[in-house]
Symmetry: C2
Amino acid sequence: MATLQAIKYNDGHLEILDQLLLPESCIYIPINNVQDAWGAIREMKVRGAPAIAIVGSLSLAVELRKLAAPETKKDLHSLVKEKLDYLVTSRPTAVNMQLAAEACIKLSNNLVDKDSVDAAEAKDVVVKQLEATLANDIADNLAIGEHGATDITKKCGNKDKLRIMTHCNTGSLATAGYGTALGVIRSLHKANLLDQVYCTETRPYNQGSRLTAFELVYEKIPATLICDNMAAAAMKQFKIDAVIVGADRVAANGDTANKIGTYQLAVLAKSHNILFYVAAPFSSIDFQIPTGLSIPIEERPHSEMTHTGNIRTAAAGIHCWNPGFDVTPAELITGGIVTEKGVFKPDQLVA
Amino acid sequence: MATLQAIKYNDGHLEILDQLLLPESCIYIPINNVQDAWGAIREMKVRGAPAIAIVGSLSLAVELRKLAAPETKKDLHSLVKEKLDYLVTSRPTAVNMQLAAEACIKLSNNLVDKDSVDAAEAKDVVVKQLEATLANDIADNLAIGEHGATDITKKCGNKDKLRIMTHCNTGSLATAGYGTALGVIRSLHKANLLDQVYCTETRPYNQGSRLTAFELVYEKIPATLICDNMAAAAMKQFKIDAVIVGADRVAANGDTANKIGTYQLAVLAKSHNILFYVAAPFSSIDFQIPTGLSIPIEERPHSEMTHTGNIRTAAAGIHCWNPGFDVTPAELITGGIVTEKGVFKPDQLVA
């Protein structure tokens, strides 16, 4: 069965699956420019650190392709920088969009001084780099899946079938396709090594129950949905072998910012002697940030907690705390950090 | 400000606040007989172990008061036993209804052999015992509140103001009034010792966000709502002093069955060096059950997890695990078990 495709790009035309409408409806919306992408990211029609960077990058490719070639390479550079700086402001916690922006800004800046390239050619080079994010991400995810599946299997003593817990959505709906943590689970399933995956609901936005569950049902992967407060009970009752989650940003020391609730799962995994893995493209590692203490944590609107659609689920007037992410200290990542370059212990990360 | 009243009983007339409609609407429904009570308990219009026992008991009082005196005391006993055995089947995990039923069945049985009492008088005696559950529970809760507040304050080194985390609803909406764990929080607040209470949403039924938050706003107790997966992050960030929860059933060794998610909070409290308390009437301790392994855990319908009202929040076709409760091992109850008779270490419980 084909993997679910959440980002469709073809020759300057970009469409994304509106994840706010899942699981009720499966509707694609056009992204015609950077402004559209900024809004879609902010409203979480697309989410997941890699997917945000890809949609942001592709939206600029869409704009540049439609544009007549700029007069000068300096004009091109100013435009590229302005658009990308703006895209980075859409959501603050994930590093991928920022890294993609920095790489592209550096490229367009370098092109300014390269006499052999004119403005039109420079535009094409930038567009190609932006467009390459999609295929590169899928290739990286497949590598993450293979590395992760091999490592977990080995560390679990080559058990016949594994029980894996995961959090939030890190699959086709968070990446260009396949996924990071969910990519590892896909690889285990393909290799006939998966007994069952337990996915958490992931309140308040229900990325687990809406998105991960949607992918798992779509691809007939054996799965059980649990509420976030059932994690410890499930670890104990079902003898979970490993927990594997994604990352929005990994600090140089291995501290990992990921969806709120990740830290808690890592503490619970440790106390139940269960391996805890983070799976992310190497680009999620931010070597500029020494430890998790420096990672900015986005606070999300309280309405996410007080309402489901138009239904009020919390008493009127109650004060809420709604951090989008938390930081898992490196020492709790007992399995390792799975990247396309291999699996690393947190203290083995080198730029 | 008056405490919220969820059970109204007056001279054979019983009304309960329909908790399924909270926090949108505050509507009382009549309970005219045992059948009504069974349905209201099963559908969770009333929930919380003490409240279930009180509504069950009062519903039989309502029926008996309307009834002409039975021909014989044996007839009375058969009737009482049949009705109470039926009520106990409404929900299996909490022990309070079962204990209340056993006590009343024993009373009516003893009356059969008591020659000085005729059938009409025996009916009155039974009705009085059933009706006494309401006032007794409020008195017990006030005592629980005082004992708990004193003990927490002492064990926290007489800190000026305390930050307390709680789970599910254990307040006026779970008891006859005041509450168990939430009663302790009320007592701390009354004594001006409470900085802030952090209440968990308590998925999938949202007893925390719908009910506890409603009570806290109603009585202007300083409170913050968190999702269940934010507990560890909140413990760390806000330096929580103690976690206090209720109990559906405590085994003889102190193992405690309570709302799903309690076990997880206890593990997290331990790893953050935070005191963990259980607050419950002494009648919640089931000395017939040696350890938590023997406590039956109710599984609830999957629709609780997949839908909020008519809104689907989980992908169609996903398998769910929805245990209503979990068991917290005695060794994690580091603060103690707070009852109307005082605060006990789990290994100090004596029938």
